[in-house]
């Protein structure tokens, strides 16, 4: 008895799938564009993907392309398999958040050799036939570390919040930051942990370290900045820290808060912004539509760099006339303000990056010239040389080592 129910259930399922399949097959003569995102479910990935989705649905793109999102999770193999499927499905362009700088090279070659346009955002691949759009080359590690050193006057105890162990990004930034910090004998790294770009973990770990090292003066983070700062505020409300990190709205508000500043909070809001996804997508579309010719395959998305003095609260749905942080309660504290980018992505509003819906009335604006990025061997190219000063800051001027 039961078995028949099951069989019928399965049968029904199959039929449904077949039907769906047919529908899909009659896609029409648009460009097939795929977004292959990595493990969804964290704020950064969600915001980036939403930005891309919104742009894909914004005129004129909505008429030009047939857009599909695939979630490959954390499993490189699945990503490879998915990209193969996309090629098989006749993709014209694929925009990827790559899970590994080199594991995808083979399948990307398969794609590009079939004239499929392949772009990556934020993370990069070493495959030269793909285009990397990222600010991994913008020396986040060196610049923020140097900035902190300057704020600390070259001495103090700091906590070092790594990203995710075993990723290229973390390795690159760590190298740079360590390079700077070690220049200054006054700087002591009293605790370091892998916060996995996660605010909950960061908060937990920081409060544990604080308990052992009550006099910490600074925290260096890549992400999980808000959590790290929360830990300090909870454990040491009256003595805050110099901190470098992400662009969470709550974090920016605290940076701007005079009361906090008087308690010693000095913050820099930088790191990789989800807007890089949307930017990469627009570049890809312009190339796809023949509006742009690219001479290099590594494009740099400018590193966000916002200090307390630059902060200006917005009253609207978007970042206009220089405002760059939303008032409290409008967005959750963990919201990443760098999901929006008034210069490159005027099409996007708050709603767009939160829901992935296009902004009513908006149309795609053309991009200015792209900035090509440095080479970083093993990150965005294989047999290449990094610039000699790859570990040095290029946004802040170092203070002399105190005697």
């Amino acid at each position: 008895m039961k078995k028949f129910q099951w069989l019928s259930l399965i049968a029904v399922g199959c039929v449904l799938m077949l039907v769906r399949g047919q529908l899909y097959a009659q896609g029409g003569q648009k460009y097939k564009v795929f977004l292959d995102m990595s493990y969804s479910g964290n704020i950064w990935q969600a915001a980036a993907a939403n930005g891309i989705k919104a742009l894909a649905a914004t005129p004129p793109y909505d008429k030009l392309i047939e857009f599909k999102t695939i979630i490959s999770g954390t499993d490189v193999q699945k990503q490879i398999s998915d990209i193969q499927s996309m090629i098989a499905a006749g993709a014209n362009a694929i925009i990827i958040y790559p899970l590994s700088p080199s594991a995808l090279n083979r399948v990307i070659q398969q794609a590009t050799s079939r004239k499929v346009l392949v772009f990556t955002y934020d993370s990069t691949v070493t495959e030269p036939s793909a285009y990397n759009v990222s600010n991994i080359t913008a020396r986040y590690g060196a610049n923020t570390a140097q900035w902190m050193v300057n704020q600390l006057g070259g001495k103090g105890e700091i906590i070092f919040n790594h990203g995710v162990a075993g990723t290229a990004v973390t390795k690159t930034y760590d190298e740079q930051a360590y390079h700077i910090f070690h220049k200054y004998p006054g700087i002591k790294i009293v605790g370091d942990f892998y916060g996995n770009w996660n605010d909950a973990i960061s908060e937990a770990e920081v409060s544990k370290i604080l308990a052992a090292h009550p006099n910490v003066d600074g925290i260096w983070t890549v992400d999980g900045t808000y959590g790290s700062l929360q830990a300090v505020i909870k454990n040491r409300p009256n003595r805050l820290v110099v901190i470098a990190g992400q662009s969470n709205n709550g974090y920016r508000l605290m940076m701007a808060d005079p009361a906090m500043q008087t308690k010693g909070l000095k913050g820099i809001s930088s790191s990789a912004g989800p807007a890089v996804g949307g930017y990469a997508f627009k570049v890809m579309m312009e190339v796809l539509l023949g509006k742009k010719k690219l001479t290099g395959h590594n494009i740099e998305y400018p590193l966000p760099w916002v200090e307390a003095k630059d902060l200006k609260v917005c009253d609207g749905e978007r970042f206009e006339n220089g405002c760059n942080v939303f008032p409290e309660g409008k967005v959750p504290p963990l919201f990443l303000d760098t999901s929006l980018d008034p210069n490159f992505l005027p099409e996007l509003t708050l709603d767009a990056v939160q829901t992935g819906n296009p902004t009513p009335g908006a149309t795609i604006q053309p991009l200015s010239e792209v900035k090509y990025a440095d080479n970083l061997p093993g990150i965005n190219c294989q047999d290449c040389k990094a610039p000699s000063d790859a570990l040095e800051p290029n946004l802040v001027t170092p203070i002399p080592v105190p005697q």
Partner: protein, 348 residues
């Protein structure tokens, strides 16, 4: 009539349940570990740090209770991580920064996660899908749904009261610590002192016998998974309050530890054994361990190696303790030696 009457029988070891011994040993191990750390690094182990360890252990302490109940039935719940995340998303989404909303938001969150648990339970109890697959599948699907609804990250703020709850103190004691104490008391009472708890042990011990005795196997199975869902959602809400924001991946780091805590606490994955005190000890042990790992300034690789090593050592100590306990049981009576000798040879 019993030929063993003549024998001297020692009850001393039986006064305490063997699981209790395990739990105590695990707690001891935790203390030893901390002291050793303190010896290496004097700044370690301040009151504040211990408070911090306890505070951050609350999520595991609560989540692993449900896991413990399920494992008691010889099952396993792989949906805990996802459910925690979902709970966080829901509570954030519903309260959206207002404390008033908590009044109804909390029940709603608990209910919806309870529902996920029920689905697990129904699949296991009635469709006879192995718990491993059922819970994995439900987790995958539920994650998908949540993703669809929330687009990955909650766009709302968690109610301030919830955040306060996780940060405030009452006369110097962090509220989470108090919560842990209450939860522990309630949890162990429910598991070890109630009739239904007793039935769970019976079912976990032998389903065949339980069926013949006429215990409500299916109902209790479903209930156990439901409770597991409840615990996960509670932990998830607290986690959201703690990190003042919710993401769909914030629960993942707690899945494996929740299982490890139960097993380190002396439960058997085949069911029928284990008390919450053990699981509790296991949870504390693990979060203390993670702190120690943090304090050691090492590359993540070495941290993992040490962490894994310590877990294994803890387990070895535990089995040694089981061995002691076996001897005690033997001392009780010479009877059943045969199956004992056998079970030993086969177990080891």
């Amino acid at each position: 009539m019993d030929n063993t009457q003549s024998r001297t029988v020692s009850f001393t070891m039986l006064a305490v349940r063997p699981e209790t011994i395990t739990a105590v040993l695990v707690l001891l191990a935790t203390v030893v570990m901390m002291l050793a750390m303190k010896a290496l690094n004097p700044t370690f182990g301040s009151m504040g740090q211990i408070a911090a360890i306890l505070t951050t252990s609350i999520f595991l302490v609560i989540a692993s209770y449900g896991q413990g109940l399920v494992i008691l039935l010889g099952g396993i719940d792989l949906s805990i991580g996802v459910v925690m995340s979902i709970a966080g998303m829901i509570i954030a989404g519903l309260t959206n920064g207002s404390n008033e909303a908590l009044v109804w938001a909390i029940p709603v969150t608990l209910l919806s996660c309870f529902a996920i648990g029920l689905v697990n339970g129904l699949g296991v109890a009635f469709l006879k899908v192995p718990p491993f697959i059922m819970t994995l599948a439900v987790a995958t699907a539920a994650f998908g749904v949540a993703l669809g609804v929330t687009a990955g990250s909650s766009q709302r703020t968690v109610a301030p009261a919830l955040q306060l709850l996780m940060s405030a103190q009452i006369c110097g004691i962090p509220i989470p610590v108090l919560l842990i104490v209450c939860f522990f008391a309630a949890g162990s009472l429910l598991q070890s002192r109630t009739a239904e708890g007793r039935k769970l042990y019976a079912i976990g011990s032998s389903i065949a016998a339980a069926r013949i005795v006429g215990l409500p196997i299916e109902a209790l199975t479903v209930a156990a998974y439901g409770v597991s869902g409840l615990c996960a959602s509670l932990a998830g809400m607290l986690l959201a309050g703690y990190s003042s924001g919710a993401t769909l991946d914030m629960g993942d780091p707690f899945l494996m530890p929740s299982i490890a805590a139960v097993v380190i606490g002396g439960a058997s994955v085949t069911g029928g054994k284990g008390i919450y005190f053990g699981t509790f000890a296991g949870a504390i042990f693990l979060s203390a361990l993670s702190t120690i790992i943090t304090v050691l300034s090492l590359s993540q690789g070495w941290r993992n190696i040490i962490q894994g090593g310590i877990i294994i050592i803890a387990l070895i100590l535990q089995t040694k303790q089981w061995y002691l306990q076996k001897m005690a049981n033997r001392r009780l009576t010479g009877q059943g030696l045969a199956n004992r000798a056998l079970s030993q040879t086969s177990k080891v």
